[in-house]
Symmetry: C2
């Protein structure tokens, strides 16, 4: 059952697409705190799931979180905000319910941080919708929630192929080399991503003709090799006379305004920019249609970036900081002065104070950005998604975004933002999957191998062993870090075999992905969602159920020879070194230490289940789906859900 | 066997105190790389132990490390330097040997980072001693190494009591309140630490008479309550006319010099300071004797801080940065200019470039700080340690330092530096214990509950469950973070019981601590040191053997209901909620999931062993050691090693 409550005068976010009458009853479960907040008493064993893209574990208890979309590539254990705002929680324990706080401004969640037994949710003002969802079990609650927020975006099948990316590919020639290196070694690959360097001075919808000459031809050349090029699109529009996007935006008042009604100026990669007011449908239409410039050149996928929006500096703040520094430097700066100085400088970028200094037009009224901050990236992606329906009705276009809010899931996927080459971020990648699935983000994954910081050969290989199971499977890294294309490593052969296994898994993965979307289900679930009464299953933080057939349990610790795995029921362990080289073994329910050499992918098939498994292919277009094998329990069948329809397969050969 | 090799003209560090003739043979195991480095081929299963205070796991494989003492309170997975430099490695696998690179400048260790099969050790110049130690097993190699570096400092027994600290106790009254809050609740406590605020304008060896009036009386008042006050001593000496330490230092040329022979000026907490040249024995004597000012007031313990040395800014660098900022701000700063600006500002503090701009007098020659950087904190602690022998020959004085080098272990302990209230730092605390023990640092521990960032109730309680077993047991936190005195938490009672258990453990812990020192042994060991042939034991990264009787395996994950533990042999599990409330149970060898409620301390007694266990006491002085109980296997005896001598105890009552 879903009950809708209204407090104050909420801003419409369009997160919920179903028309639900406002409940006349008292808000259940929560107590109003009187300071724009909601209080819930947590029982000792309650688990709090949710919050979508956030730090820490599957169980969110014991920390404080702030929904305030942030560009924080250095996030760690005590971070409170990431790139998305997904205000959905699912409380499971003494009571069982889901709750969605539909509120586009900054809000905080103290989930047993201040007091272990208390959850307190605070909004900046008390204008919001609250949806309470009750049901028989966790899966049923999520299903109801997913239904009211609308069907998730479906990515094209090729987006399930492996993708290579790096911030730092400076030219078509560099990209060509990457493509050739992959093809030369027969490492399957479907896409190469273009980070900001493909643009002319970081101007949206331009291509640098010197470094990326004849881009149509280059797209075609890559496509002939089976490779899709996926360019980045940034939120900010460069201020440059003669640049059509800038000039049109100014002329039509498409940019966010400052206090005085002038176009607000911040600085990002292109230098000084204006920010399109994506909350205005007319602006979305205008900006969305711009993607056609690149679609026509042969691109068929995009990633939207810097759309929290990230702001290196606002002109106004920079000027005031500079003024104060000038004063301080005259004063014979003491320790206090020094810390004021460094504090000011480190407070320039992404300062939330700036969010009160620029404005959006919403229903004819000017609203400060702070009131709608978390909707910005969402509406940029919506701009693209709405346009694609018109521009390319027949063909699925790949679209994923960095920043998001619930609702954005209808228009694209997200990647989990700029992460680090840290073992802890490999685990976090896994832990975010269920909470993202709850809120409709099905096409997702993290930068495999880690974006910032230097990766290592073993971290990359272990990360691949998680990412082979995730929809968005992209190896991405930052300028200045160790290059991490797979052929850079001594163990390239082992990496290659993992990618081959991925291609073998694609028929299954894409089928489960489609099912999850079409049925409003979670593709990735905590063990406790299927084994509700199992106390041990409830505390597992490093394994996931995938679809209805698999349990994944990657190794995420350096130098580990294996890992502990909990089996709530008998399962079949698969130990795979390549699509052709694997063994299976039945494992009893309970706790086990499972050995896994660095080059071994270990996963589990659930009792009486089986998965279809293909063979390696250079790319998804060349996948041979006519000769799927089965891996799993001999008597099991599998319902294959393809673009063309659903068919039930039965095991036609004994597994090895 | 120990072999000593000499390359170039090494600077004497006095890390090694035994006279060892230089070997005429070729350096074994390593290949010289020709670029001031050493190369070792790692076999697939080799484990590399060592490096003392460093990030990452017990097994150091798969990362790069730099020995360059650094003030980095934000250290994380990809950090390369911490507060100490402990260039000892122990390679265990195809070959077995220890190696000590006795080199006081910055040096790096690529331990299977660039290539998994290669370890490369690089020095800045090739002037160093290398010691190769071979032996029958890991413990024997460590024992030999510990013998040549000299006996470790022995802390007084009261230093095994619980200590409360916070950067931010502004007055004697605040300290008094802390003491009263602990005593009121009968939470045992032996010490309260004074961070920088007790000083007058952060001047070493001064006490602020306004906020800490009549300090002798206050020391006596606290001592009457059973509480030792432990003040901090910083490395930098405030530049202030009339301040005697400053004036004496200037008069006698006791400070480090700049290029022009003037006293080098940096800024730290007091503002502008000079740095005593601790490498000069005359300066050590002078500075060491200053501790008597505080000893005479009634203090009997100290912690040396900021002695990497931490430098907020050098005058010269700050001036040049300011000049460049001034230029940039005139230029209509673009994105590049902005990043240059923020990069410059963030590069001011602890810039290693400054280490070439100040100088030490070593054997009559002026050496740039960079050549001897890692000896600075060591020699500050040596100054204190040498002085204490003269000033207080009869009484053990507590001394521990932030920065260190091997050799400093003879004069004091170390704490593991400014850490964070992170679960990952709880694990790192455990993982550093064996590597620090290898290099002689026996009196050590980390800031329990975490220094920076906000702690949580459960993190604190779980961290206590590790720290009850560690010599240095201090709860310390930073200004601006959530207060973390135990009485701040709802679960104060549970915390209190952990501290009570600590006091019950002290007879055992202090005995094992003394044994480890007197016998050159490790008090904390990886499982593989005692179970060499056990493949499973070799990969355990989150359990330690403690002394000869215990195995500890704390829970270090939030919301965990227990943890996995590997038992290489049968052991007795002890599940303890208070010194009086516990059960034991025999557990078979193998892998187990062990439940542990938040208020339960779980540890293991090794087969056929037992430990003496006392009762709670308000402080160590009031410990009743006359009625020790035994916990463990019924037939076991225990050799108790006390200050007064060693006695063998036998179980005189059955354990519950």
């Amino acid at each position: 059952m879903i009950q809708k409550y209204v407090f104050g005068s909420p801003i419409e976010t369009d997160a919920v697409v179903e028309d639900i009458p406002v409940s006349g009853e008292k808000l259940p479960f929560f107590e109003l705190t009187g300071d724009n907040g909601f209080l819930y008493q947590l029982a000792e064993k309650d688990i709090v799931y949710g919050l979508g893209e956030q730090v820490r574990g599957i169980n969110k208890r014991g920390w404080k979180y702030v929904s305030c979309n942030s560009d924080n590539p250095h996030h760690q254990e005590d971070t409170v905000s990431l790139y998305g705002a997904h205000n959905f929680l699912l409380i499971s324990g003494e009571e069982l319910f889901g709750v969605f706080f539909d509120y586009p401004g900054s809000m905080s969640f103290d989930i047993g941080f201040t007091r272990r037994d208390t959850m307190k949710v605070l909004t900046s003002d008390f204008n919001l919708y609250v949806y309470i969802i009750t049901g028989e079990n966790e899966k049923e609650i999520v299903k109801q929630f997913r239904r009211i927020i609308g069907q998730s975006y479906i990515a094209p099948k090729w987006a399930f192929g492996y993708g290579q990316s790096r911030w730092g590919y400076k030219s078509a020639d560099e990209i060509r080399t990457v493509a050739e290196e992959y093809r030369k070694r027969n490492i399957p690959i479907d896409s190469i991503y273009l980070d900001i360097d493909y643009m002319e001075h970081y101007k949206d919808f331009t291509v640098n003709e010197e470094t990326f000459p004849e881009i149509e031809k280059f797209c075609a050349e890559m496509k002939a090799m089976g490779i899709h090029l996926v360019p980045i699109i940034d939120a900010g529009v460069k201020i440059e006379k003669g640049y059509s996007v800038y000039e049109e935006g100014v002329r039509n008042n498409y940019f966010c305004k400052d206090e005085n009604g002038n176009d607000f100026t911040g600085a990002v990669w292109p230098g000084r920019v204006h920010f399109p007011d994506f909350l205005d449908p007319e602006v979305r239409k205008w900006f969305g249609e711009k993607y056609s410039i690149l679609l026509e050149k042969g691109f068929d996928g995009f990633w939207n970036d810097m759309n929290e929006p990230a702001i290196f500096y606002s002109e106004k703040r920079l000027a005031s900081v500079m003024e104060r520094i000038n004063e301080l430097s005259k004063e014979n700066m003491g320790t206090d002065g020094f810390f004021e100085f460094t504090g000011l400088v480190n407070g320039i970028s992404n300062n939330t104070g700036d969010y009160d200094c620029f404005f959006h037009k919403v229903d004819g009224k000017m609203l400060p950005h702070s009131k709608v901050h978390n909707l910005y990236g969402y509406n940029m992606t919506k701009a693209a998604g709405e346009a694609f329906k018109k521009l390319s009705p027949e063909k699925r276009i790949l679209m994923f975004s960095r920043s998001s809010y619930i609702g954005a899931h209808r228009y694209g996927g997200i990647w989990q933002g700029d992460n680090k080459s840290w073992w802890s971020h490999l685990l976090m990648n896994l832990q975010m999957m269920p909470s993202l699935n709850m809120t409709g983000f099905l096409y997702t994954g993290a930068d495999t191998g880690g974006f910032g910081s230097d990766t290592t050969e073993d971290l990359m290989l272990r990360w691949l062993q998680l990412s082979v199971f995730l929809p968005l499977f992209r190896n991405h890294s930052a300028q200045g870090t160790r290059p991490q294309e797979l052929y850079r490593f001594e163990n390239c052969e082992d990496c290659k075999r993992m990618i081959e296994i991925r291609y073998g898994l694609i028929p299954y993965l894409y089928s489960e992905y489609r099912k999850a979307i079409l049925r409003d289900e979670m593709m990735y679930r905590p063990l406790a969602f299927d084994f509700r009464e199992d106390e041990d299953a409830r505390s597992v933080e490093d394994q996931l159920l995938l679809g209805n057939e698999l349990m994944i349990a990657p190794v995420y610790k350096q130098n580990a020879t294996g890992r502990y795995v909990y089996l709530p029921e008998e399962m079949m362990l698969v130990r795979m070194r390549s699509p052709e080289d694997f063994e299976t073994e039945t494992v009893e329910p309970g706790h086990h230490y499972i050995r896994a050499e660095l080059n071994e992918l270990v996963f589990f098939i659930r009792k009486d289940k089986a998965i279809p498994f293909g063979t390696a292919a250079p790319d998804t277009a060349r996948l041979d789906t006519s000769s799927l094998r089965f891996i799993g329990y001999p008597e099991a069948g599998y319902e294959l859900c393809e673009e063309e329809g659903t068919s039930v397969l039965h095991m036609f050969e004994e597994h090895k």
